[in-house]
């Protein structure tokens, strides 16, 4: 019963949502919106679960003073600090600022704009260097396929640069690569993904795939 009940819930919900896709009427819309509201409610409660998990995992490491425990302490302090200035107290707004703390100029937003965002930007900017290193590995012409990839990449990259007389030919070749072989491969993958998604959904709705429920 412990496993059959979730499977039954999945089956009924899955069949209903599949039918709802083909029914544009108001009652079907209402039930779908109601179900989506439930997802939001569960999401809000789960955020509490996430906070609990984050605190517990980091606190255990601080307590046991595992290597690098200082970072765990910073995580906990940062989380508590942002919770306090966002929900309970802000020097400019007093106690329980709530939504007011999202106005620019408040402590909460200052920390967001001037500490969190620059750090996030630094992480994102690392991508440029990683692209270079990954490209170096991928384009090493050690096999025929890698050589084709290298030549193709050069043609595609050079289409953005004026090359005088050969510019027109390069533009034409690059566009052909993008529109014909590249698009054909993309569409093939999209079709496979679409079929795979339907198959996966069917397997879950029919209770055939239940490994995520612990049934092997």
């Amino acid at each position: 019963m412990r496993r059959q009940l979730p499977i039954l819930v999945v089956f009924i919900s899955g069949i209903f949502m599949a039918i709802q896709y083909f029914v544009p009427s108001e009652p079907a819309e209402f039930v779908q919106e109601y179900a989506m509201d439930w997802v939001i409610v569960i999401g809000v409660f789960a955020m509490g679960l996430g906070l609990w998990s984050l605190t517990k995992v980091n606190w255990i490491k601080v307590q046991r003073q595992t290597p690098g425990w200082g970072y765990n302490l910073v995580t906990i302090l940062g989380m508590v600090f942002m919770l306090v200035v966002g929900l309970i107290w802000d020097p400019g707004l007093g106690f329980f600022p709530g939504e007011k703390s999202q106005v620019s100029g408040t402590w909460f937003m200052n920390f967001f704009w001037y500490i969190y965002l620059p750090i996030q930007t630094v992480m994102f900017s690392l991508l440029a260097f990683y692209i270079a290193s990954a490209a170096y590995r991928a384009f090493r012409a050690r096999t025929i396929l890698a050589s084709i990839l290298l030549v193709t990449a050069i043609v595609i990259m050079l289409r953005l640069i004026p090359l005088g007389a050969v510019s027109g030919i390069n533009q034409w070749l690059a566009n052909w690569i993008l529109i014909v072989p590249n698009m054909a491969a993309k569409r093939a993958i999209w079709m496979g993904v679409g079929l795979g998604m339907v198959a996966m959904a069917l397997k879950i709705v029919l209770g055939i795939e239940r490994s995520y429920m612990g049934r092997d």
Binding site: Y116, R137, L195, G196, A199, K203, S211, Y212, D216
Partner: protein, 377 residues
């Protein structure tokens, strides 16, 4: 003086004609579609205004605007009675269309009344329904065949074959395995596919007594992942080896998550990294860090834009549908393999349709392509 006479002689544009109103098909009953024949002076008009009233003698109010080239307008409102834009069902409305030039205008005749009503079937999605029914039937046929014990052949996938090898490597090295479920929510099909693979991998790690770390980006994903791993450990007969602290919530912010996961890779020196689910710009940063750390990496995603990054930076990549098929490959259960076989057949049918479509369309015979036309509106 000549200019004044010329201005005075400018005439209103001729009005649009044949204004017709009908219920908008395939909707929830809060919209009407208005069509008209363009004004003969369409070259000089700037656009049209759509006017609505609930009686032919009542006041007509402007409800929308259309371009000079348009001959159709959908007057759509909200279904909530409290909304200022509420559009009632089953109530007659009359429409006029006003052609406008710079300062002058002319109005069409008043249309016949029409009311909006809801539909119980979206006719525009019929090709989708037919395709789903064919595919579902194929799946059920192959599952039934598999149930009867028929041997089904499925082509081998390199990425799947490497899973056991990767777990074995981690066991030999005495280092943990990292399993990343991406940035998707528990409702995303790629994440669900990730759970099914996690279940299989966790069962093997339980058997080999290898630690598995699953940092999560979403609290619900974390809760499902914890249950998945716990159940896998129970299935493997080692419930005591399960440690909840290894499946935890990291952060829901994209690059903060990347920083956290990269830290885990470098500190824990994970022997094997799995990336299974929905990934965005973080994919390459994660995979490159794993590569630098010397981990064996197996990735799988249905995100087209991230596939090249994974192909370049990880050892094996499950491309698109292979991610969904991975669980069946790992489990080798006949029922799951039956569903895989149905996918292969559906691909075959698609291929035939594509070839036929290309031939017919090249011969200017559009009937075949028209069979596949659908509308999501």
């Amino acid at each position: 003086m000549i200019w004044v006479i010329a201005f005075a002689q400018e005439e209103s544009p001729l009005p649009p004609s044949q204004v017709k109103v009908k219920d908008t098909p395939n909707d929830n009953g809060h919209s009407l579609t208005i069509t008209w024949k363009s004004s003969p002076d369409s070259a000089k008009i700037l656009g049209y205004e759509i006017l609505r009233s609930d009686s032919p003698d009542g006041e007509f109010k402007v409800v929308g605007q259309a371009l000079a080239t348009d001959t159709l307008y959908k007057d759509k409102g909200d279904k909530e009675k409290e909304s200022p834009n509420y559009f009632p069902s089953h109530k007659n409305f009359y429409y006029k269309v006003r052609a406008k030039t710079d300062g002058l205008s002319s109005e069409s005749e008043i249309s016949l009344p029409a009311y909006a009503f809801q539909q119980w079937y979206h006719a525009g999605k019929t090709p989708v329904l037919v395709a789903v029914l064919i595919f579902s039937t194929l799946t059920l046929i192959f599952i039934s065949k598999a149930k009867k014990g028929k041997e089904l052949y499925v082509r081998p996938l390199a990425g799947i074959g490497a899973v056991d090898e990767a777990i074995g490597r981690a066991t030999e090295m005495g280092r943990p395995i990292l399993f990343i479920l991406g940035l998707g929510t528990a409702a995303d099909i790629a994440t669900i596919a990730g759970f099914t693979i996690l279940s299989r991998v966790a069962k093997r790690t339980a058997e080999y007594k290898t630690r598995i770390i699953v940092p999560c980006n979403d609290p619900i994903v974390m809760a499902v992942a914890q249950e998945t791993v716990k159940a896998a450990y129970m299935d493997a007969g080692r419930p005591e080896a399960y440690e909840e602290k290894n499946i935890f919530f990291l952060t829901s912010m994209q690059f903060a998550y990347v920083a956290g996961v990269n830290g885990i890779m470098l500190r824990e020196r994970t022997a094997t990294n799995f990336y299974m689910g929905l990934f965005y710009a973080e994919s390459l940063i994660l995979a490159e860090t794993g590569s630098i750390a010397g981990s064996i990496q197996i990735s799988g995603t249905d995100q087209m834009s991230q596939l090249p990054f994974f192909v370049a930076a990880t050892d094996y990549t499950l491309i698109g549908e292979e991610l969904y098929a991975a669980s069946a490959y790992l489990g080798r259960e006949p029922l799951l393999l039956g569903a895989l076989k149905a996918q292969d057949w559906a691909k075959g049918i698609l291929l035939i349709c594509l070839i036929l479509g290309t031939i017919f369309t090249s011969l200017h015979l559009d009937f075949f392509a028209n069979l596949f036309k659908f509308s999501l509106e």
